[in-house]
Symmetry: C2
């Protein structure tokens, strides 16, 4: 007979009820629950039937108390919430991580901590053991949250190379510098010589490394570096628009722009169009990321593909390994030049 509990908060069945129902000890029920090792087929059968009849579902708090694990992972974003929604990269990353974890039957908890206050609350929540590990996404470096979690001994993998945290924390990143080199070489190969750059925030590795790649190619190509051709943004569309504005003002002869993110590149296109410059005829524009923004842009953006599917898969792999006791690790993944209409 089914013990259907139609709504209401009746006391849910425990392992004890199942044991009684199945005519075995609680230890045996627990063994069935945890993989069925050292359990006779008969007992196995009886327990499973009892679980079905009682509608038993394990109390995770009790289990966690003893195992010390919560069997869930946190996806922590220490950015203002607008960023999260505006930037398509986060979307792809989140989806990739969710899927990679799904293969292990582990739920992903998304935690947004854009304010100081929220960061404090979430940090407390995490260090109290509510998740077994954290996938941390934060473009800005020197993020105190990373350091706090590391000190608390919480397994942690960052997306993108952290600045200043040393090699004590795991991270997965695309090869920013190499990607930037590919793009700028491409622009040079097109005959461009007055190549502007809209960088990311210069306190982030993505900002610094992509600019470094730009300078390297200029040097190897015998093109003088002109600092008036360098402006920086914060990865938002608006900052790209403003950056291009400045660029055009400082160097009207600019004939190409390497933009450190596709979203900013969209803004750059807007400014160029307003200024009456044709893309790619007058000015070539190269983006970075190959996010959905690259395809949504008009013209569609030539860009540097970050392998987000692999990045998220690697983040999960490294995190699970670390939870399993392995040491931190850094993973650098190659990028790829994707040619479209903007160059």
């Amino acid at each position: 007979m089914t013990m259907s509990q139609s709504g209401g908060r009746r006391k849910p069945p425990t392992i004890h009820d199942v044991a009684r129902e199945a005519g075995v000890s609680r230890g045996t029920v627990s063994r069935v629950l945890n993989g069925g090792h050292y359990v006779s087929p008969t007992a196995q059968e009886a327990v499973n039937a009892a679980i079905r009849r009682t509608g038993y579902v394990v109390n995770r708090h009790a289990r966690s108390l003893i195992t010390g694990r919560s069997d869930s992972i946190g996806f922590l974003l220490t950015e203002p919430q607008e960023k999260f929604f505006e930037d398509p990269n986060f979307n792809v990353l989140l989806r990739g991580c969710t899927q990679a974890l799904a293969a292990h039957d582990i739920p992903l908890l998304l935690m947004l901590a854009g304010t100081e206050d929220e960061r404090r609350r979430i940090t407390r929540y995490i260090t109290a053991g509510h998740v077994d590990g954290v996938l941390l996404v934060s473009s800005h470096s020197g993020d105190p949250v990373a350091e706090q979690l590391r000190e608390a001994g919480v397994p942690l993998v960052m997306c993108g190379k952290p600045i200043g945290v040393g090699s004590k924390v795991s991270y997965v990143a695309a090869d920013d510098r190499d990607g930037a080199r590919d793009m700028v070489r491409h622009l040079v190969s097109l005959g461009r010589r007055r190549i502007g750059v809209v960088t990311g925030p210069l306190d982030t590795p993505g900002g610094v490394e992509r600019l470094a790649g730009y300078r390297e190619v200029l040097a190897e190509s015998g093109i003088d570096f002109d600092e008036r051709l360098v402006v920086s943004g914060d990865y938002s569309r608006a900052s790209g628009e403003a950056g291009a504005e400045r660029l055009l003002g400082q160097c009207p002869d600019v004939d190409a722009v390497f933009v450190a993110s596709d979203l900013m590149a969209q803004g750059v296109l807007t400014s160029l169009e307003r200024a009456g410059r044709r893309v790619p005829e007058d000015v070539s524009v190269g983006g970075f990321d190959d996010s959905s923004a690259a395809l949504a842009a008009r013209p569609q953006l030539t860009t540097i593909r970050q392998p987000y599917d692999r990045i998220s898969a690697e983040m999960v792999r490294v995190l699970l390994a670390q939870i399993g006791g392995e040491d931190p690790a850094a993973v650098i993944l190659p990028t790829e030049l994707v040619k479209r209409q903007s160059t």
Copy 2:
């Protein structure tokens, strides 16, 4: 002397360590932890000092095991992930709920369950007691998740009126029908007579109610209902664009369009522009939501304001009340016509 534990997973201090350090019993420590009632100032002091010295932080699993609460709330979205990122309403709603809960020092866990598989996993996670209650956002009705959670006795508040679940589940919604009436009356007052409508999905209350409001005003204004003026979308920008396309094909004489969401209205504007119709000179366009999409649109949208800040605040209030033992409740909030350039 400080027991700083520099990184590593040393066994964290327990309430027992604190008790020893403070020279009191574990019961007293617990009392301090839980509000400090029935504790002498002296003991209070000693315990707090001991907590600081040991770096103690409560083990939530142990606490949850005994209290039966997790002290966290889930924000569950049973929509494809793209929707979540594309639609600015979710952003505002999420932020509002986060803030409302912050006032109670309760962390919000965002759970995305766009696929059948994810829904199953998340439902199990929730019913296992990982959150005390759920704020459920799902535009589609007949969502089996809602029914499952209700049956499992999980406190639940939905955003928007659910179809078919009866009055057993709490919800907070704007007055869709009244909002629609306001908008269509506004269009009629402008002298428009061939008023098209792009509805939301017709298996959702927002879809049905806003259409009903449209029909009511037509009737009261003595305008014949023409079903060729009715097309429906799924709240995405693309569906608005396609809907307007169809509308123009079926009724070239359309002189106004009431669109059931601002995002869809953006798509409608795109189609109208492509067809060479001026807004608002040739065609008036009215949106719904007053989301960021309304301000981003060109021309800026006249729309119906949904009071999202109040909606999220009410959702949290009702949910906390329900967790506290109160019965489910429905809250309907008034909307407001906001006039801008599109009409």
